[in-house]
């Protein structure tokens, strides 16, 4: 092992990875560059924008504010792990159906934060949703359809309905 490199083991979307990283490596850079999981994005350098939001040990975090070495031994969930068994997560489906994304750059961060919101509060009000999304910035949507997407996702989860299969078209 190189000088000043550290060995870590991180489980990401259910798969264990053993890596050596510099101590200064951010979790977001580890995910994107070392593991090739480029779905998590970088939108700022001050921890404001939330594009890098992932879930670490059941808690949404900004992965630009976490060192990879801090994730040693942790379970990490990224956007790539949302769809399961060939079906979209309710959150993905909500964002799709309600036009909760335009350029899509902030979207993985919003979706991961939304997973957290709905786990904590399965039927949030508009105001609760907007407050809980304070740490995620979007420049395209004005947030209105994101709020609708979160509500739709919540409704789907509460109903227990099956979600769309990955590969479904737009139906027109």
């Amino acid at each position: 092992m190189e000088e000043n490199h550290v060995g870590i083991t991180v489980e990401v979307n259910g798969r264990a990875h053993r890596s050596t990283v510099e101590p200064r490596t951010l979790l977001v850079d580890y995910l994107r560059d070392d593991l090739g999981l480029t779905g998590t994005h970088i939108g700022c350098d001050t921890g404001q924008c939330g594009a890098c939001t992932v879930i670490v040990d059941g808690q949404s975090v900004k992965s630009c504010m976490v060192l990879a070495v801090q994730a040693n031994g942790a379970h990490v969930r990224t956007v790539e792990g949302l769809a399961q068994d060939g079906r979209y997560h309710a959150v993905q489906q909500g964002f799709w159906e309600k036009h909760g994304l335009q350029c899509g750059f902030c979207t993985p961060g919003f979706m991961m934060q939304t997973v957290q919101i709905l786990e904590d509060n399965p039927d949030p009000s508009d105001e609760e949703i907007r407050d809980a999304l304070e740490g995620n910035l979007c420049r395209c949507t004005g947030y209105q359809n994101i709020v609708e997407a979160v509500k739709a996702a919540g409704a789907t989860i509460r109903s227990g309905a099956e979600t769309m299969a990955v590969g479904t078209g737009v139906g027109a």
Binding site: Q48, C103, N136, Y143, Q144
Partner: protein
């Protein structure tokens, strides 16, 4: 041109075809591109707003392990000596002074963040370490950041080639404004500031360049709104033959105008890749984006108004000092001139008006187009003027708008300065709809009750028309734009009837992969799911001019419609032949060619495509394969319009503004996808509200950018954005092939003055008539405090 009524495709609120990859994290944004053996480029940037470069010592950086090269202007100038300006605006007499814009500073830095040296290393961490090892000695110079101060005597000279820091003088005149002002019963003078903004797309700028020395070809992935323009400018500025350049703008995370320009970032990645023989990648950090990516707006405007006692505006004179920043960016000179001055009278019949623009250089980041680009700057003037006139003559601002509107029967309407002819419009229609939606009469009654209870509540309107759908090439050329503004579509119907569309415009959030599929689905009778829309790759797509100026639907979509009609025309011949009838005996009904009187005898476009592929049984004169291409040069711009109404309460104790209601009624002609249309309006309004209340790029007197990150530059969060109530009317554009008018910028153009007018209305009982944007709580509180003493 008559437009078919909406079917299952065109006009439907369908979810988007591009979303599956974006919601699964499989988008291909430029920073996601990883080529083997790539090196990372990073820039050393100036910490001074204005300084001479005394020396640059790159030796320690160059010696650092893992560093492949360190370059200054002297090293790169043989490859690229200056960033080109593609819009040397006309109508400036002999006053236009376009300063040279070196890709790396040449002896002097002129703005905080200007690139001084390029470091290329094996990985980002090494590059970052090496940037810190480059030693630059500066001799700071006095800086100037205020637009009027920059052209005042004694200001520090930024460019030897631009005496007095003046970039140009530009004027448009209509009627006799001097005479009308002199004769006016009512005279108003007002200075307005349209503050500098930072576009802040969530994706910063990135580039990857891969130069192949054997073939002389280079592939450049870049966050561009207009890949073909990038390709042409790369060819012109570097000498690399145009046909050997491939530009790929894949998934791009928002643009808003800031990703139109050709920047040194991508140019120098190409340089480094050529030098080093490896792919070179570069990604801006956000703080870097804030200094290195073009800013928007930045006018100081002096306005003089003449009106009758009834509030009819007879004269409008605008003198605007517009900052280009330290250097002229790619499209910059056209923004505060043609895109601003042409529409200076907006939706109002003002027979005498003049606009004079003084373009200035300041020690600030170069400016360029930012959502609305010139049109918000004009609309803000008009809507504040209407309210100031209404206050002065004691009439409801609604009535003053009505009085001044261009009337429904005046179209086509030629503006007083002669530059534009509005094709169609009905400004009272959207005004009335907005008043209805907000329940205006009850609202004013509610306001009276609230005022009696001591609350500061206000109602603000904004009525606008804007010019977009850029545009007729003859107009573009006349304005000095170094290109036409046509656009293109190729429609390829495969033998099995699936369709691929190649469009010259670019989607960085607008959803063209869906809306354009909807156009084709309607015109060719195929499923939206069976139409793939390809954009952004100059190897795949025929020449196009990209996306900005709300041009994608009118011009890109227009080209697509006309290409579709070419497909239909060829397929009709084939269908008639296959059905063994004359062409006059078939008609296009319910997504197929059908024999008149025997509709079951039919052929679909896929049927015709297969026959065209087989090619053995085609009518005389018809060639194999069903594929058509069209370049569409619009005969006019398009003119979306509307009225927005904002209701606010201002907190006396804190100066904070709370938006209680926001109602928008927009008319963009025919609507391809209402869900996408609404999304564009939501996003546009958010940016416009933000200009009114929160955002401002702030420089200190030394040219230091104080608002240098998201900690200090307040883009809106979900918790501060109000719920928006949208409505629409449909007044089709008579000349556009789809009847559409463009909607991407309208929300931004309308909203800023709606909010400012509302706050001023709230404060009017205190005798406060104007406060400059952004209406931050401290500023508003200070005005309230001063007014009550």
């Amino acid at each position: 041109m008559a437009v078919a009524s909406p079917t299952r495709a065109f006009g439907a609120s369908i979810r988007r075809r591009e979303d599956p990859r974006l919601i699964t994290g499989r988008g291909k944004f430029t920073d996601d591109i990883h080529l083997a053996n790539s090196a990372t480029a990073m820039f050393v940037r100036s910490p001074h707003g204005h300084a001479r470069i005394v020396s640059i010592d790159t030796s320690a950086a160059a010696a650092h392990p893992g560093v492949l090269g360190v370059y200054t202007y002297q090293d790169v100038k043989g490859f690229i000596s200056g960033m080109p300006c593609a819009w040397p605006t006309t109508n400036t007499g002999d006053t236009l002074k376009l300063a040279t814009y070196p890709p790396l500073a040449d002896g002097k830095v002129r703005f905080f963040g200007e690139a001084v040296a390029l470091v290329v290393a094996v990985d980002p961490n090494t590059a970052a370490d090496a940037v810190d090892l480059v030693h630059v000695e500066y001799d700071p110079l006095p800086a100037v950041v205020n637009n009027e101060a920059a052209v005042a005597p004694g200001a520090p000279l930024i460019h030897d080639s631009a005496p007095g820091n003046q970039a140009f003088r530009w004027s448009l005149v209509g009627g006799d404004t001097t005479g009308a002002l002199a004769n006016a019963d009512v005279r108003i003078s007002q200075t307005l500031v349209n503050q500098r903004l930072i576009a802040t797309p969530m994706e910063t700028r990135c580039a990857v360049a891969d130069y192949n020395p054997a073939s002389g070809e280079v592939t450049v992935w870049v966050t561009s709104q207009n890949p073909h323009i990038h390709r042409l400018l790369i060819a012109l500025s570097t000498g690399i033959p145009e046909h050997k350049i491939r530009v790929i703008a894949g998934d791009v995370g928002g643009g808003f105008g800031a990703k139109i320009p050709y920047y040194a970032g991508e140019a120098l990645c190409i340089f480094a890749s050529k030098e080093l023989g490896v792919p070179v990648r570069w990604s801006e950090s956000r703080s870097e984006n804030y200094v290195a990516t073009a800013h928007g707006r930045d006018h100081i405007q002096h306005v003089e108004v003449g009106a009758t006692k009834e509030g009819k505006i007879t004269a409008l004179k605008v003198t605007a000092y517009a900052s280009l920043g330290a250097y002229p960016s790619t499209a910059a000179p056209g923004v505060p001139t043609w895109l601003f001055g042409c529409i200076i009278q907006g939706p109002y019949d003002i027979p005498n008006n003049e606009v004079h623009v003084i373009g200035v250089y300041t020690n600030t980041t170069p400016t360029d187009a930012y959502r609305g680009a010139g049109r918000p700057e004009a609309t803000y003037i008009l809507e504040r003027v209407i309210d100031l006139v209404a206050a002065k003559v004691g009439r409801d601002p609604v009535d003053v708008r009505r009085l001044n509107f261009v009337k429904k029967d005046q179209f086509p309407f030629k503006v007083a300065n002669g530059t534009l002819t509005y094709d169609s419009g009905d400004y009272e229609l959207t005004l009335d709809q907005a008043l209805h939606n907000v329940d205006y009469t009850h609202l004013r009654a509610w306001q009276e009750e609230q005022r009696a209870a001591g609350k500061l509540v206000g109602i603000g309107l904004s009525s606008f028309v804007e010019v977009c759908g850029l545009g007729p090439s003859s107009a573009a050329n006349a304005m000095g734009f170094a290109g036409g503004l046509y656009d293109s579509a190729t429609i390829r119907v495969h033998p099995t009837g699936k369709v691929t569309v190649f469009t010259g415009v670019h989607s960085h959030g607008q959803g063209h992969e869906t809306s354009f599929a909807q156009i084709v689905a309607r015109d060719l009778g195929v499923k939206v799911d069976d139409v793939d829309v390809i954009h952004g790759d100059t190897d795949k797509v025929q020449h196009g001019m990209g996306t900005y100026g709300s041009r994608s639907a009118p011009v890109g979509g227009g080209a697509l419609r006309l290409a579709g009609m070419k497909i239909r025309a060829k397929a009709q011949k084939i269908a008639a032949h296959l059905l063994e009838v004359a062409e006059e005996d078939i008609e296009w009904v319910d997504d197929a060619f059908r024999v008149k009187g025997s509709p079951d005898k039919s052929k679909t476009i896929p049927d015709c495509a297969f026959a065209a592929y087989m090619a053995g049984n085609l009518p005389a004169g018809v060639t194999p394969i069903l594929e058509e291409q069209h370049w569409y040069d619009p005969e006019n711009f398009v003119y979306p319009f509307g009225t927005h109404i904002c209701v606010v309460e201002v907190d006396r104790e804190t100066g904070e503004t709370h938006i209680k209601r926001y109602v928008a009624v927009d008319d963009c002609g025919e609507i391809i996808n209402p869900l996408l249309r609404d999304g564009q309006v939501h996003g546009g309004i958010a940016q416009g509200i933000a200009q009114a209340l929160w955002e401002e790029a702030v420089y200190d007197e030394n040219g230091q950018l104080l608002s240098g990150s998201l900690m200090d530059y307040a883009i809106p969060k979900a918790s501060v954005m109000p719920h928006l109530e949208l409505g629409h009317t449909v007044t089709p554009s008579p000349h556009n092939p789809l009847g559409v008018k463009g909607i991407g910028e309208a929300g931004t153009i309308a909203s800023t003055p709606a909010v400012v007018n509302a706050v001023m209305d709230a404060l009017s009982p205190l005798g406060i008539h104007h406060i400059d944007m952004p209406l931050r709580p401290a500023k508003v509180w200070a005005a309230i405090h001063a007014a009550s003493h």
